[in-house]
Symmetry: C2
Subunit: 253 residues, 2 copies
Amino acid sequence: MAETVKDISAALLIIGDEILSGRTKDANLSYLAVWLNEIGIQLAEVRVVPDIENEIAAAVNALRLKFDYLFTTGGIGPTHDDITVDSVAAAFEVPVVVHPEAYRRMLEYYGEENFTDARKRMTRVPKGAELIDNPVSIAPGIRIDNVFIMAGVPKIMQSMLEGIRPHLKTGRKVWTSSLTVHAPESKIAEGLGKIQDDYPQTSIGSYPFYGQGYGANIVIRSADKDAIDGAMGAVMNMCDAMGFEMDHPTTLS
Amino acid sequence: MAETVKDISAALLIIGDEILSGRTKDANLSYLAVWLNEIGIQLAEVRVVPDIENEIAAAVNALRLKFDYLFTTGGIGPTHDDITVDSVAAAFEVPVVVHPEAYRRMLEYYGEENFTDARKRMTRVPKGAELIDNPVSIAPGIRIDNVFIMAGVPKIMQSMLEGIRPHLKTGRKVWTSSLTVHAPESKIAEGLGKIQDDYPQTSIGSYPFYGQGYGANIVIRSADKDAIDGAMGAVMNMCDAMGFEMDHPTTLS
């Protein structure tokens, strides 16, 4: 395996029993991964933990110290099982306080009468935190240090990301080129390994598929476009020489 | 948040750059979660790590010591980026050896001529490991201690699980009952919190939705069916008293 280019790294912490029970399928991981890559940040680890404060706090501390950024999703609603704010505060060893601007926005939106205790709960933040705008449903996300606390509902999570973008330092975008080869993966494995050795600045992955026919998708990733072109050329020459058919050739994106 | 019933716990480690790049969407998490729950095992944590040996080994050690079982998916094919076996061996501090029975099966299937070095790679296991049958594509999964190493291709992963089933001790199945309430989540939040306090042997989750209308899905989980019935009855009474419409009522599964 080649060194993966990762100038700027991020982790995602998905908080929620509903994902671990299999009841809800996470839709945020792949969206965030692609979104981050567009601005030159590599998603380098993901964890899913249950709605248990010390589990969340331990994961927050492990990930915020290991990577440039940590994004969390889930657990910031009004109900008793929404404990992300308390857990992140515990991780940072700071108290939970009401954020005046969050309070103002929610009060303005709901009015005195409908500003229930449950909704007031959504104005709480770890002390020292800033707000992340929520154009969809007002109740804000939260930033503290390098941790971005977002909603789990995909539409809201995605809208919060746009507010986060200006706060992120961006790195070199990693380009991807892919090719479908109609061959048993094991027939091209040795050659692929050699090409990987020849192009250490790329990361070459091979992902077999079965179903309607079989074969492997070859994916080459690198911040260096020329290296990708060189490695992909070598893969195509190899497959051609071995008489294997290829599809969907080299699209750089 | 109530204590979640989890007599027997498991973790899933998803190995693969293709998931972290967002290119491939994982399909194994929710399948495994539901499959495990059917036999009374709770999926309690999930991690996704890149194809880097020391990252994989560190996650294997953290998770195998913390939970009753660890399942891994991905990275056991014939190519250079398939390093799960080496990484798990490193975690257990044992060498990698060829498993004679894996060798015999692969040789029988492919024949002398087509048994390439790449395919021979798939007969390697951490020393002391046992095989997990692969009815789909022969190359076996691997069991070492409480760690089950499976393929990442969903069809193969699912077939391997059936071979693993007899090796697992099973616990109390956790039942789930759910209800859709057409109300702003914050209106029912306080009442839900009280019901959670009244039924500590259950875990009550509330998951808001937006789109065509809005509301919240209330999900109650417990190994105690009667407690679920009691808690769900209390939720329905509360919503009824507040004049909120309900859908898809209480299905215990």
